[in-house]
Each structure stands twice: as structure tokens, then as C-alpha cells.
């Protein structure tokens, strides 16, 4: 399912003295099955952008097409769009409300008017895919740990079988091991189901290992876009807008600048270690 932004501008409180542009002339194509990292600091327009993808916000100017259809067109069903484009908000565990884990995950599919059998099937399947075992399905969501709660909240969106899964800062507040678990889980869901995934993050290091393409936003515009290596090649440009490249990328770029024969574009610890170890051994 492709998403196209065609000259999209969004202004909060448009037409008033408080008018504030949050998106300025965005042109973007998100292809079926891509794994995208959307990066930018607070206030750069990331959240405004993703809320256009399932019609929570409407463009002030321009058009958003999902599967070729204008989502603001007459008679377009936003309800059906929202079950196809699933949005996991920041701190999604704050939205858990049912008395048991299973009921909470069933809430989404229930509102889609499916049969009870299908609802249950989807809930079980979604819980299994996020690694919540049968021993927890009758527990109150409030008894779970932070990481477990977050996985239940993600399952609640997965149970609607979206074609596009958008996650806003899914690792915020988790410890390093919890962060790796959630990112690994998202990667597995992407690989197994082939759905489009859009991961919103502050952290370059988090997305470097996982995504196919990075979109960098600053001041309501898309400023850089491409595979991680291409984007990180712009170390200085990224740092000038307050974003940092992974430390290993900084190191390989610096060493290259000092005249050492190393590739300047390592983005993971393994890549950088291979490169630097090889250089050391060559000189040995």
C-alpha cells in the first residue's frame, strides 16, 4: 500500500494570528513493504506528518494519496483507512484500559465489525507475534512490566491487520535491553508479514541497524532522504540541525578525513570494527 504526499502543507490554527506551519510543501512517496525511519527533533513536524497518513489531520494545502486515492476526497472512508494504517502512539501503554490483556487487544478488531471467532483469532495471533504468552492473556494489563505493556499495545494495533504500521518513538523510556527487544520485534513483524513500517525516532543509532530508508525532517520540511549510508554521509549537515550520527559513523568519517584509508560510511559497530581491524592487520 503506497502513500504519496503531493505538495502537502499543514498549518496549525490556519487563518488566525496564531498560525504556525508544521509541514511545508512535503513531497514524499512511501512504497509498499518499505521499512522507513522518520527522524527529526521535537517540533520538526514528524508527528504532524504521520497524523496525515491515516487522516487524523488534513492538509491545509496539497493532497495525500493512499493506494492512489485522495484520502480527503468525497465519500472516502476514513474508518476503513484507519484499520489499514495502524498508528502506535508514544507511550501507547497509557491507552490500555480493558480488564484483561486479551480484551484490550480485541478492542480494535471488535470495532471493525468482525465475527467473534475472527476477533479472537486475530487477538491471539497478534499477542503471539509480540511474544506475549498464554499465561498473560487473562492478566490485567496494569500488572505487566513496562516493556510487556508496550508489546500489548502494539498487539492491539496489529490485531487490526494494518497494511502500514506507524510507531511513534516506540522505545521511549525503555532500558537498553528493552529497546533492543522492541526494535527486534518490529523488524521481525516487518520481515514476516511484509507490511510497510514507519518508525519515528530521535535516535540515529536505533534506526541505523534496522531501516531501508531514512527520512530526516527539520523545521517542517524533509531535509534529507535515502538509505542510512547516504543520509549519514552528511554528518556535518545533520549535526548542524541538532541531530547526531552514530558514533561509529562519526569515527569513520573523521579517520577518513585524517587521510586514513578507511570507508567513511560505516553505520554499525560490526562494520566499523571490520574496517578498522582490517586496516590494523594490513599495517601489521
Amino acid at each position: 500500500m503506497s502513500i504519496i504526499f503531493d505538495h502537502v502543507t499543514h498549518k496549525y490554527e490556519a487563518g488566525t494570528t496564531m498560525e504556525k506551519p508544521a509541514l511545508k510543501d512535503i513531497n514524499l512517496v512511501i512504497n509498499d513493504g518499505e521499512f522507513i525511519g522518520l527522524i527529526g527533533h521535537t517540533g520538526s513536524g514528524k508527528s504532524t506528518l504521520i497524523q496525515h497518513m491515516n487522516g487524523l489531520l488534513k492538509p491545509t494545502e496539497g493532497t495525500v494519496y493512499v493506494d492512489g486515492e485522495d484520502i480527503c476526497g468525497k465519500g472516502y472512508s476514513l474508518k476503513s483507512l484507519r484499520s489499514r494504517v495502524g498508528l502506535v502512539f508514544q507511550y501507547p501503554e497509557h491507552q490500555l484500559f480493558e480488564s484483561s490483556v486479551l480484551l484490550d487487544v480485541e478492542f480494535g478488531p471488535k470495532n471493525m465489525g468482525l465475527t467473534q471467532l475472527e476477533i479472537q483469532y486475530r487477538a491471539f495471533e497478534a499477542l503471539k507475534s509480540v511474544g506475549i504468552g498464554d499465561d498473560l492473556i487473562d492478566a490485567s494489563p496494569f500488572e505487566l512490566s513496562g516493556g510487556q505493556k508496550r508489546r500489548v499495545a502494539i498487539a492491539g494495533v496489529l490485531a487490526m491487520k494494518p497494511k502500514v504500521l506507524i510507531l511513534d518513538e516506540p522505545t521511549a523510556g525503555l532500558d537498553p535491553a528493552g529497546r533492543d527487544e522492541i526494535l527486534g520485534l518490529i523488524r521481525r513483524i516487518h520481515e514476516e508479514s511484509g507490511i510497510t513500517v514507519i518508525l519515528v525516532s530521535h535516535s540515529m543509532e536505533d534506526v541505523a541497524n534496522y531501516v531501508d530508508r531514512i527520512i530526516v525532517m527539520n523545521d517542517a520540511k524533509v531535509v534529507l532522504e535515502g538509505p542510512p549510508k547516504t543520509v549519514f554521509a552528511n554528518c556535518d549537515a545533520l549535526e548542524s540541525i541538532g541531530l547526531s550520527v552514530p558514533q561509529v559513523t562519526r569515527i569513520s568519517a573523521d579517520l577518513k578525513n585524517l587521510g586514513l584509508p578507511v570507508r567513511p560510511d560505516s553505520i554499525t559497530i560490526e562494520e566499523a570494527a571490520d574496517e578498522l581491524a582490517a586496516l590494523y592487520k594490513r599495517l601489521h
Binding site: H41, T42, G43, S145, G146, G147, A172, G173, L174, D175, P176, A177, G178, H202, S203, E205, G242, L243, S244, P246, Q247, V248, R250, I251, D254, L255, L258, L260, I269, E270, A272, A273, L276, A277, L279, Y280, L283, H284
Partner: protein, 288 residues
Amino acid sequence: MIKTKDLSFDYIRRDEEGNVESITRALDEVNISVKPGDFVAVLGANGSGKSTFAKHLDAILMPTEGSVYVNGMPTTDEDKLLDIRRTAGMVFQNPDNQIIGTIVEDDVGFGPENLGIPTEEIWERVDKALDRVGMTKYRCDSPNKLSGGQKQRVAIAGIMAMKPKCIILDEPTAMLDPVGRREVIKTAKELNEKEGVTVILITHYMEEVIEADRVIVMDAGKVVLEGTPRQIFSRVEQLKSFRLDVPQVTALAFELNKRGIPLPPGILTVKEFEEEYIKALSALEGDA
């Protein structure tokens, strides 16, 4: 400044009749001593007990066993409660939960006002506190127009205006972006260096503890490691077993070390890594 002796704490769950359902030991015989002027970081995974620990230092929680002393005062002494909270101020995780004033300067003045300080002195303290955290420019703004990092700095100013000897920051950056995180850590570091305020920083972000004089690592309610950042970060594999991590550059140096390249353990910054790597390379050329 702060001392805990065999501090243990149980979270006790009771059913509707008040019978004990389960007991979770959140802190297990914690012995810590923090000297005046120290910058100490407490590192631990989610559920390691670090926030429970922080809440004991400000007498929000009372020990199940053992004791906590703030500037020599036991936290169980109710008569000393106000003194303790005046000595040790606390900044919490969520900036939106701790700001109450409708404009920045009112919010900062709220603490000293409650201490019964004369109005003139309150304003002096507000001026100074806002200056210290670099927020003077925003003193007449509404806090809800500020970024997360700026709100946390206002919260820190609110604590500073009460002139505490010690500030406890309980995951102050968990909800902030990288720019906000740097602002808050820099502010804490400056207060420590310039004002001599004792700082206890609770966090699970590895990059934030590099600046600390001493790092205390907690796991399952116990203190499992204690030392300088360099000592702590040279234990890459042990930290991973506590669900923690090391900065990327430390992990890279560790990996290269395993492959036989002589780099010292516990490298903390990009600059340090580059220097050490080039040193290792040129040592080679010298041999040849």
C-alpha cells in the same frame, strides 16, 4: 551528605481484606555514601530499583529495613521532614507533572514562597536560579510554550531557588529528545561544578553518566557495580547482563580489543577513541 545503611524496601500488595498477597523486594541491603559536592550517577534497567532508591533520599518512601541519612538526619524522623526536603530537592521524569505556575517566574518562586521567605529575597532567588539554568529569557513566558528540555530546566530552577545542598534527578531526560537531554545534563553538571551542589542523577542512558565522578549500577534491588565511568564501562559484558549497554564507541573499542588491537579498556568519547586508535596504528609503524 547522603548515606544509606543496609537499606531494604518491600512493595507489599494486599487483597481487599488487607491480607498480604505478595511481597516484592525492590531494594536489598543498599549501602551508599555520597559526599558533599559529588556528582554521582545511578544506572539501572527498568525495574532495577533505582527510582525506589531515589524516593528514599527525599523521604517519599520509608525503608522497610535499614536507614537513610540526609545530612545526618534520619529520613524516618518526621520532625525533620521539612529540613530533609529543603536539603535534598528532587526533579522528576515528566516535566508536565511538576510545573504548576502559569508563568515561568511564578513557578520558580513557588518553592521559596512555601518556605516562608520574604518576597524580596524570593525574587532574588528566582533571578539567580533562572540565570543558573539559562532560562532568564523565558521568565515571563507560559511554561506550556516551552520545549521538554526547557521545562526540565525550569523545574531544576524551582529546586535551586530553595537552595538545596543536594539535587536528585530521577530520570530527568527520559521523555526528552537528544537536544533537550544535553541541555539538562549540562545544567546539572554546571550546578555541580560552579555552585558545588551535590548531584545524584538516576538514568538508564549510558552517555549521560560519562560526566559523573562516580557511577553506581543497580540490578534487582542491589548495588552490583561501583566506580568511575571508565571502570564501569570497561565491563561491557557484565553491563549487558544487567540489561544495560555501553556507549557505541566503548563497544567498538571492546570489539577491536577482542580482535587483538591494543586499545585501553573503557574508552568513553569519540575523540578519545580516535586518538587511541591512531596511537595503536603508529606504534605499529614504529615497529616496522
